[in-house]
C-alpha cells in the first residue's frame, strides 16, 4: 500500500495536497485497492462552486460498490480532472498522481488541522486491515 508522504488524509480515504492557495484532492491507494476495479467516476461539482469541508463532490463506482466522495477541505473549485471521468481506470493505476479529482483555490489558505498526516493515516489503514 502506497501513502504519499506529503499529503493529508481524511477518515473517508480522500487525500489533499496543499500548495499555498491551491489544493488538489483525490482518493488514496488504500481506497482504490478496497474498491477494486473502478468503472465509473462522476464529479458533481463545477468550476466556481464554493465548497465547505465534507461537502459531497461526486461518486466513484467499482465492480464492488459505489462510494460518495467528499472534499476534506473548504475552497472554490478551480479545476476538474475530466481525464479521470473519461478513464476511471486511472484511479486504480495512479491515485496520488494523474488521477486527482478536483483542485480548489482559497484566498485564506486551507485548514488541514482535522486531517491525518501520512504517519497517522498509515496507522489508520493498518488498523482496518
Amino acid at each position: 500500500m502506497n501513502i504519499h508522504p506529503n499529503y493529508f488524509y481524511s477518515k473517508n480515504d480522500e487525500w489533499v495536497s496543499v500548495e499555498g492557495n491551491k489544493a488538489t484532492i483525490g482518493i488514496s491507494d488504500y481506497a482504490q485497492d478496497s474498491l477494486s476495479d473502478i468503472v465509473f467516476v462522476e464529479i458533481s461539482v463545477s468550476v466556481g462552486d464554493s465548497l465547505a469541508a465534507e461537502d459531497n463532490i461526486g461518486t466513484i463506482e467499482s465492480v464492488k460498490a459505489a462510494s460518495d466522495i467528499y472534499t476534506p477541505v473548504a475552497g472554490t473549485v478551480s479545476e476538474i480532472n475530466n481525464k479521470v471521468v473519461d478513464s476511471p481506470e486511472l484511479l486504480n493505476r495512479d491515485p496520488f498522481g494523474e488521477a486527482w479529482l478536483i483542485k480548489l483555490s482559497s484566498d485564506t489558505g486551507f485548514d488541514t488541522s482535522h486531517l491525518m498526516d501520512a504517519d497517522a493515516y498509515r496507522k489508520y489503514c493498518e488498523d482496518r486491515g
Binding site: 478496497s34 477494486s36 468503472v39 465509473f40 463506482e61 465492480v63 464492488k64 460498490a65 481506470e89
Partner: protein, 483 residues
Amino acid sequence: MDATEKTIFELSATGRKGFRFPSSDVPSSDLPESLQRKDLPLPELSEVDVVRHYTRLSRLNYSLDNGMYPLGSCTMKYNPKICEKAARISAFANLHPLQPIESVQGAVLILYEMQIILQEISGFPACSLTPAAGAQGEFGGVKMIAASLRDRGETQRKIMLIPDSAHGTNPASSVMSGFECLAVRTDERGNIDLNDLTSKCNERLAGIMITNPNTLGLFDENIVEVIRIVHQAGGLVYGDGANMNALLGIVKPAELGFDVMHFNLHKTFATPHGGGGPGAGAICCTEQLKAYLPGPIADILEEATEEVPPLYGYRMPEKSIGMLRSFWGHFGIIVRAYCYCMMLGAEGLRRVAEYATLNANYLMEALKQDYPLPYDRTCMHEFVLDVKWPDAPGIRALDVAKRLMDYKFHPPTNYFPLIVHEALMIEPTETESKETLDDFIKAMKTIAREARENPELLHQAPTETPFGRMDEVKAARDLKIAE
C-alpha cells in the same frame, strides 16, 4: 454441462411453422394499411424446435431445485411444491379482482387470516399485505412514519438514521419519502455504536431503520437500548424484516419496541424469488400507526349472526398513505405463504428459525478455521467471512465465489455488507441437510487450499460452466445497452 445454446432467432428457418391456423370460415376483414407492419421479424420454428430450445435453456439454469443457494440476505430456502399447487387451484388462480365480494369469500378469508398470522409473528396489532415487494413494503412503512410526523406537526424531523451495515434500499426508501439519511457506525462487536447513535439523536430526528439480526447475521445485543434512545429523542423505529427467518416464533419485533416493519414473504415464507416471483412485502405496525397503513386491508365487514357467517371484504385505513399496488396485492404469493404457515403451524415456524440458525452456526464454526471471520460470535441465520489471506494476497472474495460454481454451488452474496471489504455472506437456510452442508464445507475448504497452492485456478474460475469468467470491468466500463 450442456454446450451453449443459440438464441431462438438464430434457430429460426424461413417458412417453418409450429402451428397452422384452419382456413377461415368467416368473412375476412382487412386492417387498414396504416396499421399493418411491413416487417415483423418473429422467429419461425416448429413446435419441437421450440420445446427443445427452452428445455435446453432450462438445464443451463441453476435454481433451488438443483442445489444449495447460500445467497446471504436473500433467504433462498426451498419453495415447497404444495404451496405452488395451492396457488394454482383454479378457485384461486381464475379469480377476477372485480368479481362480487360474496363470490370470493374464501379468498378474502385467506388474506384476513394471513394478516392475523403476521400480526401474531410480529406482535403488532395491524397488517397490510398489499406492498408488491420488500423494498415497496419498506417504502410504504417509511411513508407511514412521514405521514404520522406530519400529523404531529413535527415536520422539522427530517433525519433518518441508517446503520452502515444496512441494505441499500433503506436510504433509497428514506430519500424517496423526503428524509435525509445519516449513517450510524457499527461497533467492534457488530452492534449499532451507541455513542455514535446518541450523538445523532436530536430534535431533527425522524427515526431509524434497523435490520435485526443485521446484515452481519448478528442479533444486536443493545437493541432495546437503541430503540429506547431513538424513542426518547422523539424518533420512530422502522424494522427491516429481511432477516425475520432467524426470529420466527422466538422474538416479536413489537415487543422489542419497533413501531413499524415489513416482512418479505418471498424470503421468510418460502414464496419464489425473482423470475419465479413476484415478491410481497407485508407491513405490520403499532396501534398509533395503523391508520396510515397502505390498503386495502381485508376485514370483517358484517359480523356473523346465528344464521349467516361473517362477510369478509376490504377497507382503506382512515389516513392511509394510499394504494401501493392495484387491487389486493400479489394474491397468488399470499396463498403460497398462507399454505406454508398452515403446513408448518406455530411449532414448525419456530423450528424454521432454530434450524436456520443452527445450520448457519454449523457452517461458520467449520469455515472460520480456514477463512477470516471479522465478527466472531454466535451468529443468527447467516454470517460474513472476509476473504483476506496474507499467504494468498491475490485472492479476493469474488474468486472464491466464482470457484464455488465449479463445485456446483451457487455463490454466496459477495461484497455486502460494505463494512466488510472482501465479504462473503453465507446463509444456508433451514432447508439444507447436514450432508449438503458438509459438501459445501468440503468445497470451501478445498478452495481455501487451492488459493494457496494454485491461485490461477481461482482467478480463472468458473471453468466448468458454459461460459467462463465474465469481464465485469469491461461490461461496466463499456456499457452497451442497445444495438
